[in-house]
Amino acid sequence: MFAYIVRRLALMLVTLIGISIIIFVLLRVVPGNIVDILFDAAGFVDPTDKANLEKELGLNLPIYQQYLNWIGGLLHGDLGYSYVSEKPALQEILPRIPITARLAALALLFSASIGIPLGVLSAVHQGSRLDYTLRVVSLSGLSLPSFWLGLLILMASVSLFGHMPIYNPNPATWTEAFAIYAVPAMAVGFRSAALTMRITRSSMLEILRQDYIRTARAKGASEASVNYRHALKNAILPVITVIGIEAAFLIGGLIVTETVFNIPGVARFLVEALRWRDYPIVQNLVMLIAVVVVVANFTVDMLYAAIDPRIRYGD
């Protein structure tokens, strides 16, 4: 097990190095850098000014040199300076992380706490009216894009309450905090909840047919115990996989949701930085997302071993 974890960690490192190269190259393949954008807006400018600015930002160096500078800085905890604000990139990114992390955690919590019980319910009452209703609702969850759902929620709140939740870094009341975080989290988590529900349902249907479920009934176990204690623990593995993948996909959903709800999180910041070709911000943020995804995958694999005694790594 220990050897396996060491091997996995080494592999994660290799993956991250690969990702960093891809991010770096892709960013520079996109035509135009911040200097082009600034000077194009100004009309005709002296090319020497432009060259000076490029030199100042280090954009004139060969690509591999720029890459090595970035990675060298990363290893020392120096993420460089934002081209736009001229502040250290770390200072720009760090305060935004908790906002997005809170949203993402809430969205995942929402999708698991709604998706799993409803999936169990749907499987246990397979073919009933409840099952069909839940399946239609979950299908809508998969088909509604989260930005559109977000807009609908905003419009509904305006027409129902006369106002809409506006982001405030220090919410005064619990209800305000709820409106600020929970509503966007639900908008972005609805899709994951729907997916979680569908996977839970099909996994449960498979497990409920197993012999050991009959054994549990023959012991005199109650329906709740049969469904949750005996069946769900066996059915949860594919659900965990899906939640793990969703955790990664969530960033994509958050970009639009943060924009729609005007929340100053990491995801919206990434889009703004991309618009300005603010390389230090973009490459560090994408790297951060990559780390989150890789760690989420690793956590899922470890959870497998924790939940299913038949899964043992590295023996």
Binding site: Q210, Y212, R214, R217, A218, K219, K233, D308, R310
Partner: protein, 337 residues
């Protein structure tokens, strides 16, 4: 039926009828089956696959999957309680406590993500007032009783760490933990190696004697029946076709189907002896339960069938003292090979 026997009865099944509603129509998986089990007695239910043996057992446990199945008639009385009239919560108190069941597949009948000890503990805590610690100690004791070596260590293991025979022992420990009045063993040795089969069977019979449990042994293996049972019922196409004591049945089978089953048992031939004798088989197939012939269900495969057999279903009648058969020609069959 003598008075003494009646008093000892723990399970009394009368005219049990279980039907399945499927897309291809309604079929009677168990049709008008009656039997009793006395304290400490072993009743064997014998028949081919699909004859209704397992559904009979599941009907007694009230575990027939509904839909598509349902018990539609008859009564099941356990120690004076009519099980079919209980509500689900009351029935749960009976299951695993007064009646237990062992299944055919020890590989898949235990929950793969729960420790063996926890699975036994669960049934104890469901039915008996025990702390977690007491129940665990009792679970280990049960594992020792079914002769699992190192029960303390095994209790902490998961099913995949145990062999097939060991898992079936654990199932037996779980089934007997609450000292049930009745144990139903549905083909308990079919999935096991031949060498293990005899051990498991001996263990079940031994514990049954020790604990005074009534046993319903469901099997298609007449060898197993001869070794363990006192009484046998033979089922065919959902109906009971013969019932007798085990000696009587083997010496003097009355129903042509029972005779066919016995003739198709391979005889043990001493090593080195040459034989070109072919194993007997019963010609034809078990009829589809959705499309039964009007008369005796076995008539199409029976070489003794007459016109009456094909037209009218023969009632179960006493052909000899305590020996019942459902065959128009049962009484004529003495001495017919």
């Amino acid at each position: 039926m003598s008075e003494a026997r009646k008093d000892d009865t723990i399970l009394d099944v009368k005219n049990l009828q279980t039907v399945f509603f499927t897309n291809s129509g309604l079929f009677r998986a168990v049709d008008d089956v009656s039997f009793t089990v006395r304290r400490g007695e072993t009743l064997a239910i014998v028949g081919e696959s699909g004859c209704g043996k397992s559904v009979t057992a599941l009907s007694v446990m009230r575990l027939v999957p509904d839909p598509p199945g349902r018990v539609v008639g008859g009564s099941v009385t356990l120690e004076g309680t009519d099980l079919l009239s209980l509500d689900e919560a009351e029935m749960r108190d009976i299951r695993g406590n007064r009646i237990s069941m062992i299944f055919q597949e020890p590989m898949t009948s235990l929950n793969p993500v729960m420790r063996i000890g926890d699975q036994i503990t669960e049934v104890l805590r469901l039915h008996q007032e025990m702390t977690a610690k007491e129940a665990w100690a009792k679970a280990v004791e049960m594992l020792r009783l079914v002769r699992i070596p190192e029960p303390d260590r095994r209790a902490h293991e998961y099913p995949h760490q145990l062999s097939g025979g060991m898992r079936q022992r654990a199932m037996i420990a779980m089934a007997l933990a609450c000292r049930p009045a009745l144990l139903i063993a549905d083909e308990p040795t079919t999935a096991l190696d031949v060498t293990i089969q005899a051990q498991i069977l001996a263990l079940i019979v031994d514990l049954q004697k020790k604990l005074g449990t009534g046993l319903i042994l469901i099997t298609h293996d007449l060898g197993v029946v001869a070794q363990t049972a006192q009484r046998v019922i033979v089922m065919y196409a959902g109906k009971k076709v013969e019932e007798a004591t085990v000696e009587d049945l083997f010496e003097n089978p009355k129903h042509p189907y029972t005779r066919g089953l016995m003739a198709s048992m391979p005889a043990v031939i001493s090593f080195g002896a040459k034989t070109d004798a072919r194993l007997n088989e019963i010609p034809g197939m078990v009829p589809s339960l959705t499309n039964l012939p009007p008369g005796c269900a076995f008539a199409p495969r029976c070489r003794l069938a007459v016109d009456r057999c094909r037209a009218e279903y023969p009632p179960l009648q006493e052909v000899d003292g305590d020996h019942f058969a459902a065959c128009w020609r049962a009484t004529e069959l003495v001495g017919v090979p």
